[in-house]
């Protein structure tokens, strides 16, 4: 149990750190982008909302830093992330709430698919080392080195612009009304296929290479030799003994590299104008909508933390050594 408790403590600490970083960034950086905007909004913004923005961006010169920090937490705990400048006067939290499910759906599903498929391919490559399978390694290396968004551009150019098989942007047919109907869900899957494919293509290589190297390492472990000595079927040795153990570090590195992978896949939303949180962040950046940027960062970070906890939980389920402390 203590493994999970330690992890939870770590995530609480990390969440606190992320929130605090979010508090300090606008205060520490030179320049003061918000004041000018507030000046332009003079009169159109109600005093409550203006106060929130002042707290969020450290314009409350009268209060002490500590008081500002407390106020900031107060706002967050009430779910108040300020007002968006570009979608004035929509609260940031509302915009974020609308876009988050799309990201969880797209990036989440695609990342899990990439992990599973990549680990399976890596298992095979590692097991069959020194055969033709090694020839797939340079291909994987290439895909690992390609920037995510560029791969997105290429798939759009080929599958959407040239062949016209898939739409190049959007997340569902705008002619449809969002509802739980077969037609709407079909449209979501159709529109999501290309971005998902790109996410899978660009992140699968990392899992392939990681799993392959772990398989090579694990294959020379004694318990794998024992499994062979026992005369188990090859499939059972490969999947049940070698891959079963090789996947452990793979899962923990899944947790650790989630932040990196999610960062990269969010860019994909920008390329495909997919209405998730990455696209919202992109729009916020290009329109200098600072409250929205801050809100997006917080939500992205907290979501990644939750995903991390799920991965840790999976690890605890897979490795009995984390569960039992007694001998």
């Amino acid at each position: 149990m203590s493994f999970l408790l330690r992890r939870i403590a770590f995530y609480v600490l990390t969440a606190w750190a992320a929130i605090t970083i979010n508090f300090f960034i606008p205060r520490l950086l030179p320049g003061d982008p918000v004041t000018a905007l507030l000046g332009r909004m003079q009169g159109r913004i109600d005093s409550n909302a203006e106060h929130a923005l002042r707290v969020l961006f450290g314009l409350d010169q009268d209060a002490t830093l500590w008081q500002q920090y407390l106020d900031y937490w107060g706002l967050l705990l009430r779910g108040d992330l300020g007002l968006s400048f570009t979608h004035f006067p929509t609260p940031v939290s509302e915009i974020v709430n609308q876009s988050l499910p799309w990201t969880v759906g797209l990036v989440g599903v695609a990342t899990v698919i990439a992990f599973v498929v990549g680990s399976l391919i890596g298992t095979f490559l590692g097991w069959r080392r020194g055969t033709w399978a090694d020839g797939l390694l340079p291909v994987a290396t290439f895909f690992q080195a390609v920037p995510y968004f560029w791969l997105g551009l290429i798939t759009i150019a080929v599958l959407s612009v040239n062949l016209g098989w898939f739409p190049s942007s959007g997340s569902y047919d705008r002619g449809l009304v969002p509802a739980f109907t077969g037609e709407f869900i079909g449209s979501v899957v159709y529109y999501g296929f290309l971005p998902a494919l790109t996410v899978v293509l660009s992140s699968v290589a990392g899992w392939v290479l990681g799993m392959r190297n772990m398989m090579v390492t694990v294959s020379s472990e004694d318990y794998v030799t024992v499994a062979h000595a026992k005369g188990l079927a090859e499939r059972q040795v490969m999947l049940g003994y070698a891959a079963r153990n090789a996947v452990l570090p793979q899962v923990s590195s899944f947790a650790l590299s989630l932040g990196f992978v999610v960062g990269g896949t969010l860019i994909m939303e920008m390329v495909f104008s997919y209405q998730g949180i990455g696209y919202t962040l992109y729009q916020a950046v290009s329109t200098h909508d600072y409250p929205l940027m801050q809100g997006c960062f917080l939500v992205i970070t907290l979501s990644v933390l939750v995903a991390n906890m799920v991965a840790d939980l999976a690890y605890a389920l897979l490795d009995p050594r984390t569960r039992t402390e007694d001998r």
Binding site: D222, Y223, V226
Partner: protein, 357 residues
């Protein structure tokens, strides 16, 4: 003890069973390490016979090829190990003989564990850390008896644990929850699951303390009496072998340099290396001897010199030892049932005291 006249293993070419009823016969086994153009020859023409019911000890310093021999004979040597020649004849329960090196994958898989089981060096690393003991024993049973029901296999696993003196409720434990000695017993129980004819034990007790060592050894010997399997016991500790083995084969630099009945090796070694090995370990029983050890280290097998590999460390090395490789043959005394690979025995000159007793 099954001492008797032994045929020269390098000469024995007929495939028929001999009078001594060999259960495992390794003939001229050669193994390379490295798939490249310049592999290391880690085993050269090694021949060895294990008779039914016998405990054969394989002795030598680490890096002499004892474990390599065991792994190669079962084709478990990991890449870049490569078997370049030889035969490994196993006599089945029905008396039929098969060359393990010529079997198809499926046949070899079937023979493993059923006919020949191995207890590996590190018990901690031999057990899969993420599975319960029960699953690891049951997996081995069910792989060979696909028709058996899981509960039956489970009962068999419990029975096996009791056989090695562990209570059956330990089946639900994970390896990390067991002590080192217990893990090794589990490995032994697992190896006996299908009542194999041959049990290869590769330094099974090296990591354990002396008391635990003795306990486990006694248990194995007792089980052997009861179940009647043959044992290849690999260790660098010759004085331990004298206790348990019927016969001993001494290995050096990937070759067998001496074979004889255990007591003979202990009291009257014929190869200077055997004599040196005996001087490196305190005897478990009997009068204390002065520990001398052998100066130097085993040779680097990737850079073989001509001549006897032991010559650089041998106190009695002659000129011929540096140019010609000695072959396994009779001793100078012409004793039955022993073989030695040493020029001292063919030179005709009087033997030095330590190998001439």
């Amino acid at each position: 003890m099954s001492a008797g006249v032994e045929t020269d293993p390098g000469v024995a070419r007929d495939a028929g069973p001999t009078a001594e009823d060999p259960v495992l016969e390794i003939r001229n086994l050669s193994v390379d390490y490295g798939f490249g153009d310049d592999p290391t020859h880690v085993l050269r023409d090694v021949s060895l016979t294990l008779r039914r019911g016998e405990v054969l000890g394989l002795a030598g310093e680490s890096g002499c090829g004892k474990s390599t021999l065991a792994y190669a004979a079962t084709r478990l040597l990991p890449p870049p190990g490569l078997i370049t020649g030889g035969e490994v004849w196993l006599t089945g329960r029905d008396g039929e003989r098969a060359d393990l090196l010529s079997l198809s994958d499926a046949e070899l898989r079937a023979a493993r564990w059923r006919d020949i089981a191995i207890v590996f060096q590190g018990a901690m690393s031999s057990l899969n850390p993420v599975f319960r003991i029960e699953k690891q024993i049951v997996d081995g049973i069910l792989a060979h008896r696909p028709r058996m029901r899981r509960e039956e296999a489970r009962e068999r696993a419990a029975e096996l644990l009791r056989l090695v003196g562990i209570s059956a409720d330990r089946l639900r434990s994970y390896p990390h929850q067991l002590s080192g000695g217990m893990r090794q017993r589990v490995m032994i129980a697992m190896a006996l699951a299908l009542e194999p004819q041959v049990l290869i034990m590769d330094e099974p007790t090296t990591a354990l303390d002396v008391v635990m060592q003795r306990q486990i050894l006694e248990q194995v010997m007792e089980l052997r009496e009861r179940l009647g399997f043959s044992v290849v016991f690999i260790t660098h500790d010759v004085s331990l072998l004298v206790e348990v083995a019927d016969r001993i084969a001494v290995m050096y630099a990937g070759e067998i340099v001496e074979t004889a009945a255990a007591r003979d090796v202990y009291t009257r070694p014929r190869h200077p290396y055997s004599a040196g090995l005996l001087g490196s370990f305190p005897p478990l029983h009997g009068p204390r001897r002065e520990l001398t050890g052998i100066p130097g280290a085993p040779p680097d097998l990737s850079a073989r010199e001509p001549g006897c590999p032991f010559a650089p460390r041998c106190p009695h090395a002659m000129d011929v030892c540096r140019t010609e490789l000695p072959v396994l043959g009779r001793t100078a005394q012409g004793e039955d049932g022993r073989l030695v690979a040493c020029h001292l025995h063919t030179a005709g000159a009087p033997l030095p005291e330590e190998v001439g007793r």
